[in-house]
């Protein structure tokens, strides 16, 4: 397994936001986390990227424990997070946004073709290369956020709610891109609100509710179940 998380607990102050969360992501997989707002999806992703520190539990990447590592060390080890809300540098140009991310590997000029591949994935960024990133549309900003993360040349790309606030045509585009990114050997962990979309694009899906994993399985198995909506929203669905 590329990423293994055991018994994760994360607290905001004294309140646990996530408890007893265990999951894994295998090399080359696309794994989706679904669940309603406040379920703890983003919290879990921030812990994987090292932004939040677990109160309990272990996170291992490529069989090595991550706890205590600085955020930038975790990125250098191969985990890139596209956080919720995209968080592009709005006062900097598209090029500068990409340049920040390429620093890890020696700058924009030395990405060994990675910049070209990223601009091929997201041609709009080539067109808007010198524009201030703050002037891009939401969909374009999302593409920039993903492109930027890819330039750190990760083995695991974690994307938090890529479809949030996007027009439907962009959502399709972004998810199509994930399949292409996977075909280049990058593993993906994606947070998604839509169960339907998660089942369509992911290999495996975890359902998170109130800080716990309530269901997991392969997308093909889960697609056959009829009680997913109940599990998602938390009404008592089990007999």
């Amino acid at each position: 397994m590329l990423l293994e998380v055991d018994d994760l607990e994360i607290r905001y102050g004294r309140v646990p936001a996530v408890r007893d969360v265990s999951f894994s992501v295998g090399e080359g997989e696309i794994v989706c986390f679904v669940g309603p707002n406040g379920a703890g999806k983003s919290t879990t992703m921030l812990a994987v990227a090292g932004v939040l520190h677990p109160a309990k539990g272990a996170i291992r990447f490529d069989a090595r424990p991550l706890d205590g590592n600085a955020i930038e060390t975790i990125v250098a080890n191969g985990i890139a997070l596209v956080p919720e809300g995209r968080r592009i540098f709005g006062r900097m140009s598209v090029r500068e946004n990409l340049a920040v991310a390429s620093g890890l590997r020696g700058g924009l000029g030395r990405t060994g073709g990675a910049l070209d591949r990223v601009l091929e994935l997201f041609p709009i960024l080539r067109e808007r290369y010198q524009s201030p990133a703050g002037f891009l549309s939401g969909g374009e900003q999302q593409q920039l956020a993903i492109a930027r993360a890819l330039l750190t040349q990760p083995r695991l790309l974690v994307v938090d709610e890529p479809s949030l606030g996007l027009a439907p045509k962009y959502v399709e585009l972004v998810f199509e891109t994930f399949s292409r990114i996977r075909s280049e050997g990058v593993t993906l962990l994606i947070v998604e609100q839509s169960v339907r979309r998660a089942l369509k694009f992911a290999d495996r899906v975890y359902f998170l509710r109130s800080g716990r994993i309530v269901l997991e399985g392969s997308a093909s198995t889960l697609a056959e179940r009829t009680d997913l909506e109940h599990i998602y929203f938390g009404e008592e669905s089990r007999p």
Partner: protein
């Protein structure tokens, strides 16, 4: 008083305040910390010009060196001192992820520490020192007579701002400082090293403080262990008026404060002159009442996780 000279004084003090505000703004940008010790770094740079002694007269030491060596040495000393405060005071706190208030309090502690060290070495009596005596004469610019030191102050400030602007726009480390100022966590998520970018901000801020030491002492010729405090307050107010989180805002805010301060001093009726600062800061309150985000603030500041 000669009105042109008044204007020169205003622009000159505005320039000094702009440099102080920029030094405070740089660190606030990447760390969201207000470094009140910034003024005391300026004070330290000023005292570094003379021989450490408890005697009433401190002969110039670095202050007697050739100009280029003196400027380089003072800038280097203050930048180094700024780096020391970062390494041994702020970094350990940052590691524990303390909040901005704790950092602010610790910057007060550094401020008092630096003052106490100088007080211990030099005693509390103000001392005089003369550097660049050639700057004290009047020059004629386009038929107008003004002090050369003011011309040099304004020119040096303009040059520094330009150089810093180019560095932040063009150089790789400058790019990282800007990214960190806009969204620190996000910059780290893209591989920007937190320690390095913060150390760079402190070095730049310290370098600016060193320049202010030189410009300020050239003009006043006085060393006082508390000389940095009003400068830090002015710089801080400048960044607030300009808009916290914007470097250009800090520069413009500091500049506006210096100009307003000088003009008030000259234009207020004599009976009201002792309460100049009351008018000045009344003006500041008025500005913030109508524009609480500052005059030149960026859009909503990014929330930091």
């Amino acid at each position: 008083m000669n009105q042109i000279q008044l204007l020169a004084d205003a622009v000159s003090l505005g320039s000094i305040y702009a440099l102080v505000a920029l030094g405070i703004g740089l660190i606030f940008g990447v760390m969201r910390m207000i470094n009140f010790a910034h003024g005391d770094l300026i004070m330290l740079g000023a005292y570094a010009l003379v021989l450490p002694t408890a005697a009433d007269f401190a002969p110039p030491l670095i202050g007697a060196w050739p100009a280029v060596a003196m400027i380089a040495a003072i800038i280097a000393i203050v930048a180094f001192a700024a780096l020391l405060t970062e390494r041994f005071a702020f970094r350990p706190l940052r590691r524990r992820e303390v909040d901005g208030a704790t950092l602010l309090i610790s910057s007060f502690a550094i401020s008092y520490l630096l003052q106490s060290i100088v007080l211990f070495v030099h005693t509390g009596r103000p001392k005089s020192v003369s550097i660049f005596p050639a700057l004290m004469r009047q020059v004629e610019l386009a038929g107008i007579r003004i002090s050369l030191v003011d011309v040099v102050t304004v020119a040096a400030t303009a040059l520094l701002l330009l150089a810093l602007g180019v560095f932040l726009r063009r150089a790789r480390p400058g790019l990282e400082v800007r990214a960190a100022a806009e969204d620190f966590i996000m910059a780290r998520l893209l591989g920007v090293k937190a320690d390095r970018v913060i150390a760079l901000a402190f070095a730049l801020s310290g370098g600016l403080a060193g320049v202010v030491s030189l410009l300020y002492v050239s003009k006043t010729g006085v060393l006082d262990f508390q000389m940095g405090v009003p400068l830090a307050v002015a710089g801080f107010v400048g960044t607030v008026v300009g808009g916290m989180g914007s470097l250009l805002g800090a520069v413009l805010g500091g500049f506006a404060l210096g100009v307003a301060s000088t003009l008030l001093q000259a234009l207020l009726p004599e009976a009201l002159q002792p309460s100049r600062d009351a008018f000045l800061y009344g003006l500041v309150i008025l500005v913030l009442f109508f524009r609480p985000q500052g005059l030149f603030a960026p859009r909503a500041m990014g929330e930091r996780i």
